[in-house]
Amino acid sequence: MVLVSAVRDYVNRMLQDISGMKVLILDSQTVSIVSVVYSQSELLQKEVFLVELIDSISKSKESMSHLKAVYFLRPTSENIQHMRRQLSNPRFGEYHLFFSNMLKDTQIHLLADSDEQEVVQQLQEFYADFIAVDPYHFTLNMPSNHHYMLPAVVDPSSLQHFCDRAVDGIGALFLALKRRPIIRYSRTSDIAKRIAQETAKLMYQQESGLFDFRRMEMSPLLLIVDRRDDPVTPLLNQWTYQAMVHELIGIQDNKVDLRSISNLPKDQQEVVLSSEQDAFFQANMYENFGDIGMNIKRMVDDFQQVAKSNQNIQTIEDMAKFVDNYPEYRKMHGNVSKHVTLVTEMSKIVEERKLMLVSETEQELACNGGQVAAFEAVTNLLNNESISDVDRLRLVMLYALRYEKESPVQLMQLFNKLASRSAKYKPGLVQFLLKQAGVDKRTSDLYGNRDLLNIARNMARGLKGVENVYTQHQPLLFQTMESITKGRLRDVDYPCVGNHFQQGRPQEVVVFIVGGTTYEESRFVALQNASNSGIRFILGGSAVLNSKRFLKDLEEAQRIARTSSSVV
């Protein structure tokens, strides 16, 4: 509840003291921020009868002075320019400005400059600068996510922009939670170090007054890690509901776009998957595919019962009861159709791409040992005609990440086979991935095969057997969370910024993954929080990845790296 309720509180406070008919004006980023936590009908209850984007509202000149304008924007220079233009030709009766992050003094002066008609009633900073997709999971939806993979010399301004947005988002999160954390970062990652240091500067030096909250006994922990420490998780195919929908179809701001699928009724072409509003989804979002099928069947049976009783109208009382229950019935109908459509579509995709077969090998590559068997399995799948290109690429990448050093000849063979089979494969992509996230670059022991304790643990797990072959993978984040819970996060791997020290176990931990999070990781966080270990974890990243997005980022980064190296 934490993140969603924080943003909702901010929006409530924006709207509550302003009476009368209002218009809410957002920019393209704050639209996402508000849409995931607040619904249109709730806005209508608060008398907000019009919602507009700030770019489109500049185009119209019609005066609507009976409305009061509430602006909620990010404090970027573009937005300030838009605001200046609108303040000099005001269209609305009153103007209430809210910015999602800290304003610079120059920006305030610019605004005051253009406000000749004195229409601005208030100017406040409400720190809702992150998209709260789930109660313990947030994202910053950064469009050009790939910059974190490139060294600073390639494009320093874009990298600075990336870091600024990350620092802004993290700062806003802690202001919303009213805490000031101790900051640790992943040793081997330059960008994690940079973001950690800039965040520390913001919280402890530049705006130390703003961040000066009442100290609890334990300061919370902010841990900044790099996606490249665990490149395996975004590449894997997923089998739990929310993660699977994102991997196979794609979820953006809790919305699923089904328009590419034919033969859908109009109201099912775009659907909402939000744990806040959909009780069935909340109960099933972390369940695996088999269990979901059963639960959906049960839901459909219940619904059919209700529908049948509705058709059996004989007395007047039945009629009255039907009319009473109609809204509920309609909502149930919509919900059932939505989940049935999603599961049907996903089953179709699983069939087409033979994902059961592919995923079995993927999980073997990610979790268990046996290089020879793995090589054979991957070769077989590469030879299999019905496997799609992207799945072949993923298999080779997973193999390469694991057996990078063990048998270079066989690795070369696989690369060649991949290049010959996949027409669209951009050569060198796997090597680029290895350069970025190879075994030398990663901080922790991703496969648990570096020190004896981990090897022993793995063997024990292998002997015990797994419940479900397809969901046996545990992301690196899980091990990190375990170490934090036991108070054993190594200082060598995750140094502190500055001279603050962590005594004992923190009670609140925010993990920020530079490069993006995955729904598999957010599932582990949610399950960990539900297990009442005394520590509350919050997960966030610059984007929410699936394999398609991760591969796209890799390709973009590779392209830029190539062009820049050719220039140099």
């Binding site: 406070r13 004195e118 919509g334």
Partner: protein, 322 residues
């Protein structure tokens, strides 16, 4: 949840700038501070009953630094406010109705006819209010500019949600009242029936040698039960009528009301839709313009005009030379 209020700093800066600006602009506008003109739209309203957009100047020109026109809100806002007031009145009446229901259900010595009449009256008033509001609500839709139509649509939606919840509430209260009434009546009848049976048995024992026709006592009992049946039938038809009316209202309203949790309840979906529909409209307009330009009609018209000119020239020449 931390926030920071920058209004004070902002206002300070704004006032500082105002004092810098004021001596410069006083020569332009002729007054010390901003001038507020009230544009009274009431005259426009009385002359033209349809919605008239406010006539505020778009680009006030050189006098902009001083003047700011505030207009009165457009006409349809009055309608929406009236509907909101009706809804409030209906809510008040519903509270009264609840009280009347509970009073009627209490056992009383009297006939209960007055209570019934009061309840019927109140129910009819509320249903009338709801129906009137609903009709008015339908009229609110318009085709003004896109922003204004969005505004209207959203106001409509919010009022429709309120109306729907009110009508559902009313129906629920009615049905509970009716159910309790039936229970009560049945209780009475049950007792009556028993008495009747006993009496009949006694009667039968007694009247083996009496008249074949109905006894007076039995006649009165029969009349009473007939009367109560008629009453109940009337009440039921009354309730059926109001249920039907409310069902009709619900059907009309459900088109307007947003289903919570679906895609249409998302803010970003609604914003996107406006953008795409405006874009679509623009594209259609462009297409129409192109087809119109290419159309044969234009060609014909041009040819005809040219011919006309030629004829006129010939005529003039004819006059000149003949």
């Amino acid at each position: 949840m931390a926030t920071r209020n920058r209004t004070v700093q902002y206002k300070k800066h704004r006032d500082a700038l105002k004092s810098v600006r004021a001596p410069l602009s006083s020569s332009a506008s002729g007054s010390g501070g901003p001038v507020i003109e009230m544009v009274n739209a009431s005259f426009l309203r009385s002359n033209r009953p349809s919605y008239t957009p406010l006539s505020t100047e778009e680009d006030p020109g050189p006098s902009s630094s001083g003047a700011f026109t505030i207009g009165l809100p457009p006409v349809w806002i009055d309608d929406s406010e009236e509907i909101a007031a009706n809804i409030q009145r209906a809510k008040v009446k519903m509270a009264e109705l609840v009280k009347a229901h509970s009073k009627a259900l209490m056992p009383s010595f009297g006939d209960g006819k007055e209570d019934q009449r009061a309840i019927e009256g109140l129910t009819k008033e509320i249903t009338d209010l709801l129906r009137k509001s609903e009709k008015r609500l339908q009229k609110l839709s318009s085709n003004g500019s896109s922003e204004d139509s969005n505004l209207r649509k959203n106001v409509q939606r919010s009022l429709a949600t309120d109306l729907q919840s009110l009508s559902m509430d009313l129906r629920r209260k009615q049905s509970t009242y009716l159910r309790r009434l039936q229970q009560q009546k049945e209780g009475q009848d049950g007792v009556d029936l028993e008495l009747n049976l006993n009496e009949n048995r006694n009667r039968l024992e007694d009247s083996e040698f009496s008249d074949v026709g109905f006894n007076e006592h039995q006649m009165s009992k029969l009349k009473q039960s007939e009367f109560s049946t008629l009453e109940r039938e009337r009440e039921i038809t009354q309730v059926v009528k109001s249920v039907n009316e409310l069902a009709q209202i619900m059907k009309d309203l459900s088109v307007l009301v947003i289903d919570q949790g679906t895609i249409v309840d998302r803010i970003d979906y609604n914003i996107q839709n406006v953008a795409t529909s405006v874009e679509e409209g623009f594209k259609q307009l462009q297409k129409a313009e192109r087809t119109q330009k290419k159309g044969g009609m234009v060609m014909c018209a041009t040819v005809l005009v040219i011919l006309c000119f030629i004829m006129i020239v010939l005529l003039v020449l004819k006059e000149l030379f003949l």
